[in-house]
């Protein structure tokens, strides 16, 4: 083929390339999505049951293992802040951290039950409050709180009879 043809051919190729380039918007390559900058955002999928929370998320009951180690105090504070900020699933994670350190602290279990209640996990809230009670021999005030929580949870589950029973247990412990 003659030189001119080759030149023509090549310029066509260049033209086509240019055209091809114009046909698509110049885009950024999808960069590797590695983001170390932000903390995990609150779990917005879980419904925050405010009324249940208000009924139960109060300050710690008094009669509690006398001296909690500083690490537990620090984690509890963190968990309560997170719960009050509406970041309930992180609050749960923080309480679980504390429970790994002190697995049989009934107050930690009580707080976990409270947050689960606030998340709308009524069945779990009930079970966890019962767990707290099983560890709370002698801590009368905490037992009362647990029974009240159980009553709330049962009410939400539609178990009015059970809720009544739990209320009565709470009252009998209060004397």
């Amino acid at each position: 083929m003659s030189n001119s043809v080759i030149v023509q051919g090549l310029s066509c190729v260049v033209l086509v390339v240019l055209l091809a380039g114009c046909s698509g918007v110049s885009t950024r390559l999808p960069s590797p999505v590695v983001d170390h900058g932000t903390a995990a955002p609150p779990d917005t999928r879980i419904e925050y049951d405010r009324s249940a929370a208000e009924a139960v998320l109060e300050s710690a009951p008094e009669s509690v293992p006398a001296q909690q180690p500083p690490v537990i105090v620090a984690l509890l504070e963190q968990a309560e802040t997170q719960a009050n900020d509406g970041d309930l699933s992180t609050s749960v994670a923080t309480l679980e951290r504390a429970l790994r350190i002190e697995p049989r602290d009934p107050l930690l279990w009580y707080h976990l039950a409270s947050v689960r209640l606030a998340q709308g996990e009524y069945s779990q809230a009930e079970q966890i409050a019962m767990k707290s009670n099983s560890l709370a021999a002698g801590a009368r005030k905490l037992q009362v709180r647990n029974w009240r929580l159980i009553a709330q949870a049962r009410k939400r589950l539609g178990d009015t009879a059970g809720a009544g029973q739990a209320e009565r247990r709470a009252r009998s412990l209060e004397n």
């Binding site: 043809v5 023509q8 051919g9 066509c12 190729v13 086509v16 390339v17 091809a20 380039g21 698509g24 110049s26 885009t27 950024r28 390559l29 999808p30 960069s31 590797p32 999505v33 590695v34 983001d35 170390h36 932000t38 903390a39 995990a40 955002p41 779990d43 180690p69 500083p70 690490v71 105090v73 620090a74 984690l75 699933s89 992180t90 749960v92 994670a93 923080t94 679980e96 951290r97 429970l99 790994r100 350190i101 697995p103 049989r104 976990l112 779990q124 079970q127 966890i128 019962m130 767990k131 099983s134 560890l135 021999a137 002698g138």
Partner: protein, 748 residues
């Protein structure tokens, strides 16, 4: 004719263009999932020795330096450490780097403080050990890095050596080729490559290493197209993550992020300049410049890179010469932490499959945070190796023939801390802990006794059971005559002893009295979700379960009746750290705490004076432990399930071919359990009885009330109101007791 050629060319370029954009636009590298162990949480009072802590830091590749100042550095002075933790995004939030001082004393953390201001720190969390990855079928691996995270020195070195005109050319660089040609002729060797980074990227992405003219042409064309569509920085970032940098066994290593870990055991931002130069030098040909096989060649190449950088004023001469004098620094660990615990990873994968497809698990770059405790796992593997060997030696068993399965969990949360699927921890074969269904023998018995004790007005721990010959004829005419392990009938025995001593006949009779269906219902509540045949022999464990299933059953008992489904995963994050799923702690009140307490009491007796007493031949007598041995016919299966206040372990030992090992639960599985828990150190005491329990002195021979006047009197717990009211003939001082009670009542 020309028209046809043109049409063909247009079509072809269009095709290439489509290919290029499709590849890059939707390009998600197949990212393997990363599996992390639990992070170590440090706080004053944590039971941990200085050496154990050093082990954790070593597993995390913390580098010992004189004075720790950068993340990833540590220094040790006896039992005091100083370190800067690496920042990490945990499922519950980001932890920034912390500069801390940790001191140890008497096997625990004695002090934890900030190294900058000396103030005490209540809690510090380390980054978690990477314990495995799930790879897609083609075995690629990546540690993705963003351009901002790559050290500038690496970018500078790369451009200097591989493509000096990178920022100026349009994909191919005729000037570059020319320049390289001249430089190479001058140097007498290949100092510069003629391909641009863009061309190399195209080659890595699409084309084989075949070096034909067609390939070169395609490569050039596609490079041009790439540059047309995408920014320089994007191309560079892709290149940094894509470039082939060697093999790790059967896995190909792509990208500087992973290469940095593979060769230097550290993240990219912790590399020194000579290490950067080494990696950049390898780009030209990772097999040719393989630091394990051709260290001298690699050294020369590295030093060349350092020289080039100096020439281009990218590096001070003094620094370059220091770099050139350093050893390569390549780690010799051939096996990285990319599949060190196959049995546990197997469990993780199965639990993931409930929520994710296999394809997502192996290619979406999931970050999986597990419950594995590496210290417990290491200890387990060590104990398994030593104990199996010792058992084979002492019992004349064929070396290497014994097999094992072990599950270790926390009690209150059901978190799986360690798992052994076989005697070889590195072997990813048959996972006995999850899949070996073996007859469980006596380990089933607590379910029978629990069924009884849940009827406190019929059965208590003091109730006299009948361990005399029993003949049972089924409806089909089959005759069953169970016998005891010691071939003896023990007559009338208190219930707690029947369980502690694992008397078969008394248990079989009890099972028949209760009915097997109630026992099955109990097993279901304890967490056994398998279909079980309602045969009387179920009471003696003629049922096949996996060690994991047995563990679930004992978890419910050990936690005081609160069943938590055993879990290996805490949370899953996406590759960009966004939360995908959390697996929170769940409990079900399956058994009343007071009933669980009674069974646990009998199981404490089992290890103190019953079939598990071999524990205290080695362990200190004051350790609070409960457990149950299990031995099947002809000594084919050796079981032990034991727990402390916070930890549960189930051990099975046997032969894969189901032949006899000659080991009972006590002489086999128990010894391994003992080794393991001995290494864990003194456990917390178990909880005292709750408010619905009353404790009484009982005369075991009669099952009636006793006091110190009765020989062999034992204190036993009872559900409130179910303790015997009648006093045993051996007791004295009975009248005194009754009047004291009456007196007390006056004041209540």
């Amino acid at each position: 004719m020309l028209l046809l050629l043109l049409v063909f060319l247009v079509g072809y370029v269009g095709y290439l263009d489509f290919k290029v954009r499709q590849q890059f636009d939707g390009k998600r590298w197949s990212l393997p999932a990363r599996v992390y162990a639990r992070p170590l949480e440090l706080y004053a009072g944590l039971q941990l020795t200085a050496d154990q802590f050093a082990g954790e830091l070593a597993a995390l590749h913390y580098r010992p330096v004189r004075s720790a100042s950068k993340p990833g550095e540590m220094s040790r002075n006896g039992s005091a450490f100083q370190l800067v933790t690496r920042g990490f995004v945990h499922p519950d939030g980001k932890d920034g780097p912390q500069h801390i001082r940790v001191s140890f004393s008497a096997g625990a953390v004695s002090r934890l403080a900030s190294a900058s201001n000396g103030k005490p720190v209540s809690l510090a969390r380390l980054d978690p050990v990477l314990v495995g990855s799930f790879y897609p079928a083609h075995n690629e691996d990546r540690v993705l890095v963003k351009l901002e995270e790559v050290p500038q020195s690496l970018i500078d070195a790369l451009i200097a050596i591989e493509d000096r005109g990178f920022y100026r050319h349009f994909g191919i660089s005729p000037l570059g080729i020319l320049r390289a040609l001249i430089a190479n002729i001058r140097a007498g060797e290949v100092v510069q490559g003629g391909s641009t980074l863009t061309q190399q990227l195209v080659k890595n992405f699409f084309l084989s290493s075949e070096r034909s003219i067609m390939r070169k042409l395609n490569e050039a064309l596609m490079a041009l197209l790439l540059e047309f569509h995408y920014e320089k920085d994007d191309i560079l970032e892709s290149y940094l993550n894509e470039v082939y940098l060697g093999q790790d066994g059967s896995r190909s290593v792509h990208g500087f992020g992973l290469a940095s870990y593979l060769y230097f055991e550290r993240p990219l931002n912790e590399l020194t300049i000579d290490q950067v130069a080494l990696l950049v030098g390898m780009v030209k040909g990772p097999s040719h410049y393989n630091p394990h096989r051709h260290p001298e060649r690699v050294r020369d190449r590295r030093n060349l890179v350092l020289d080039v950088m100096t020439d281009l004023k990218l590096l001070a001469a003094a620094e370059a010469s220091r770099g050139k004098n350093r050893a390569l620094g390549i780690t010799h660990l051939q096996r990285k932490a990319i599949n060190t615990f196959p049995a546990f990873l197997d469990l993780v994968k199965r639990q993931l499959r409930r929520d994710y497809r296999d394809r997502d698990i192996t290619s979406e770059g999931l970050r999986i945070f597990t419950t594995l405790d590496p210290r417990v796992q290491w200890q387990l593997e060590k104990s398994v190796k030593n104990r199996l060997h010792a058992l084979e030696q002492s019992h004349g068993i064929e070396t290497g023939s014994l097999q094992v399965a072990v599950v270790v969990t926390s009690v209150q949360g059901g978190e799986v801390l360690a798992l052994a699927g076989g005697r070889d921890g590195q072997f990813a074969g048959f996972n006995r802990a999850l899949d070996a269904k073996r007859p469980v023998g006596s380990v089933i018995k607590p379910a029978v006794y629990l069924t009884a004790l849940e009827r406190p007005h019929e059965y208590t721990l003091a109730t006299q059971l009948d361990d005399t010959p029993l003949t049972y004829t089924s409806s089909t005419g089959d005759v069953w005559e169970p016998g005891n392990y010691d071939q003896v009938f023990h007559g009338s025995v208190p219930l707690y002893q029947a369980l502690a001593q694992s008397y078969n006949v008394a248990t079989a009779r009890l099972g028949l009295e209760l009915g097997i269906r109630p026992v099955i219902s109990t097993l279901r509540r304890l967490g056994i979700d398998q279909n079980l045949r309602a045969l009387p022999s179920l009471a003696l464990g003629a049922v096949e379960l996996s060690p994991l299933q047995v563990t679930q059953m004992y978890q419910t008992l050990a936690s005081g009746g609160f069943r938590s489904p055993l879990r290996a995963i805490r949370a899953v994050l996406a590759s960009d750290q966004t939360p995908l799923q959390s697996y929170p702690l769940r409990v079900e009140a399956a058994v009343k705490p007071e009933h669980a307490y009674l069974v646990n009491t009998a199981l404490r007796h089992a290890v103190i004076e019953g079939t598990g007493r071999a524990l205290f031949q080695v362990l200190p007598a004051w350790w609070d432990i409960a457990g149950k041995t299990g031995t099947t016919d002809d000594l084919r299966d050796s079981w032990f399930a034991g727990y402390t206040a916070d930890r549960l372990g189930v051990v099975w030992i046997g032969h894969d071919d189901n032949t006899s090992t000659g080991l009972s639960g006590s002489s086999g599985a128990l010894t391994l359990w003992r080794d393991l828990f001995s290494a864990f150190g003194e456990p917390a005491p178990m909880l005292p009885a709750g408010e619905s329990i009353e404790i009484e002195w009982i005369d075991p021979a009669s099952g009636l009330l006793a006091d110190a006047g009765c020989r062999d009197a034992v204190q036993l717990p009872f559900v409130q109101g179910s303790s015997p009211q009648v006093v045993a003939p051996c007791a004295y001082g009975v009248q005194l007791k009754q009047s004291v009670d009456w007196f007390k009542e006056l004041f209540e």
